[in-house]
């Protein structure tokens, strides 16, 4: 949004862009746009990709930060071929031991795909192997300079914490803290580890509190470390007294005031674009989103407790007023009102008027339909919403699965099979889509041959990483539904062997169900 306002819409840069590039725009949420995101494997936005006429990627820019002049410099450098991905790759092929060059290239890979960091990691490993003592060059880290090796070790530590599809481990980053106790990256490393320990599963629970205490002691003025401690405590339901102390010490963390001071200082400096970056519309939109979420959480909490109802309903109304297009707020509020016997209020918030909102997407419409159909209320409007969603996104797996669910609720299984049955799944090769399909039909105890075929294909297509454990769990569910508990047992054991602790409870519950079924079968 800021990129458009400050850069694209600024006539100062518009002419340059028009003259030097062929410009193409891929909006997320639009059918063609989504296909382009998929084709070029782009996830976050904003993201600018520069390609030559032969389709070869030359370079990219992820994110936007003011001032626009500085951003324009980056675009100009790409056009001039300065340190682009293409140029760096060619140089690295010529000089495979040039550590600063390899670091630049690794950073480029990291920027291209922050989630799948294999390419960047391979280069960082090379850097550490070539220059273990960090003497062959420096690189930027924010406003500081650190050795390329130090940066490489930090990046590998980060990847070990976050990278999807690998066994996550805090050990490399903990080793980094020990090796570089005076590092300029130290605080960032503590932040990453604290965030990890705030939510880490099973085996890490015990190390979490001592580590978070260490982080708070090291950075007593930085409230986020306390926040992580509080989150851990709430997750574990342990050390509550200490967490309360931490929460009380977090007082005074008012980001709006800090942002206001920063903006005033930038204004004094004569740099309004930095003031806008710190305290502009995007900042305030974020505050409104966060306020709406707070109001919603407050209202939901008290409406569930059936206490403070006047205040809760008032705050729910304010949350919806702040974010009128938020289907999740409306759906949850309507559910609470129905529970409280206030059907009129539920209709007022999430009734037929809602689906006339022009900005709604297929997912919002389906949320609406899925809310009303099982309740056997407001059926005409709910069916109309479902039909609109199917027209808007006829190939979207979530939309199709939701529609199938609705048809089943309406006792029209043939219609469900028509849109989300064997003919549909044969065209799919995404493990997650295949697995969800299998689990869906296992839940219905229908269409089980096709469900089994899809769930098996999902596990074949996916790798062996921990993040894929749910595919095996789905396969087990389908085997169980199909009356094959022995096969289900093998699949569930595989799921458990891949899991890191995030899903252990639910997997073990299914394992017990499977074992009971085997026992029952043996008695027969």
């Amino acid at each position: 949004m800021l990129l458009g306002q400050q850069y694209y819409d600024n006539p100062k840069y518009g002419k340059y862009l028009e003259e030097n590039f062929i410009l193409y725009r891929a909006p997320r949420g639009d059918k063609t746009g989504d296909a382009v995101f998929k084709r070029f494997n782009v996830s976050g936005t904003p993201f600018l990709l520069f390609i030559d006429g032969n389709g070869k990627e030359i370079d990219w820019i992820r994110g936007y930060s003011a001032p626009p002049d500085k951003f324009h410099d980056k675009v100009q450098r790409i056009l001039q071929g300065v340190d682009t991905f293409k140029v760096l790759s060619e140089q690295a092929a010529q000089n495979p031991k040039d550590v600063p060059l390899l670091t630049k290239l690794a950073k480029k890979h990291g920027e291209r795909d922050p989630v799948n960091t294999e390419k960047a990691n391979a280069l960082y490993k090379q850097i550490v192997a070539i220059d273990p003592d960090g003497r062959m060059g420096m690189t930027d880290f924010g406003k500081d300079q650190v050795s390329c090796t130090e940066f490489a070790e930090y990046s590998l530590g980060q990847a070990a914490l976050y990278t999807r599809g690998t066994k996550r481990s805090p050990e490399p980053l903990k080793a980094f803290l020990k090796k570089y106790p005076a590092s300029k990256i130290l605080k960032s490393a503590y932040m990453s580890l604290s965030s990890f320990y705030a939510y880490a599963p099973g085996p890490y629970k015990e190390e979490a509190f001592p580590f978070l205490e260490e982080a708070v002691a090291k950075y007593p003025d930085y409230p986020y470390f306390r926040l992580y401690y509080v989150s851990r405590s709430m997750n574990n339901k342990e050390n509550i007294e200490r967490a309360i102390e931490m929460a009380e010490a977090m007082g005074g963390m008012d980001y709006a005031s800090i942002a206001n001071y920063r903006a005033r200082l930038y204004q004094l400096k004569g740099d309004l674009s930095q003031a806008e970056a710190a305290y502009g519309p995007e900042f305030m939109d974020g505050r409104v989103t966060s306020l709406a979420a707070s109001l919603f959480s407050y209202a939901s909490f008290w409406m569930q407790q059936k206490k403070n109802l006047d205040s809760a309903e008032k705050m729910m109304g304010t949350a919806i007023l702040l974010q009128p297009d938020n289907a999740y707020f409306r759906q949850s509020a309507a559910g609470l009102y129905l529970q409280a016997g206030k059907t009129d209020k539920a209709f007022e918030i999430f009734g037929p008027e809602f689906i006339k909102t022009p900005k709604l997407n297929a997912s919002d419409l389906m949320t609406y339909a899925r809310f009303w159909v099982p309740r056997k209320q407001n059926l005409e409007s709910a069916t109309a919403a479902m039909e609109s969603a199917l027209k808007l996104s006829p190939e979207d797996a979530y939309v199709l699965q939701s529609a199938a669910q609705i048809f089943i609720t309406m006792e029209k299984p043939d219609k469900a099979l028509e849109i989300f049955g064997p003919a549909y799944i044969k065209t799919q090769d995404n493990p997650s889509t295949l697995s969800n399909y299998g689990r869906f039909w296992a839940g219905q105890k229908k269409n089980l041959d096709s469900a089994l075929e899809a769930a098996k294909k999902a596990t074949t297509l996916a790798g062996q990483s921990s993040s894929q454990s749910y595919l095996w769990d789905s396969l087990a569910a389908v085997y169980l539904a199909a009356g094959k508990p022995e096969e289900a047992l093998k699949a569930e054991e595989k799921a458990l062997s891949l899991d890191e602790g995030y899903n252990t409870e639910s997997y073990q519950a299914q394992l017990k169900k499977i074992k009971d079924e085997i026992e029952k079968k043996a008695k027969k």
């Binding site: 990129l3 862009l17 062929i22 193409y24 936005t45 990709l49 520069f50 030559d52």
Partner: protein
């Protein structure tokens, strides 16, 4: 002098209301072919309305 001032204001206004750049939105392959024919780079802007 007055005429020159009016002309200057009109010039400024016309610049302010110039349309933004032309962004293609259809086929990427067509855009690539256009880039190749004109010897330019293709700039793909991936964006979300909220971001």
């Amino acid at each position: 002098m007055k005429k020159a001032f009016v002309f200057f204001i009109l010039l400024l206004l016309s610049a302010a209301f110039l349309p933004a750049q032309t962004w293609l939105t259809g086929s990427v392959d067509d855009a690539l072919a256009k880039a190749k024919a004109q010897g330019k780079l293709l700039l793909l802007d991936f964006f979300a309305s909220s971001g």
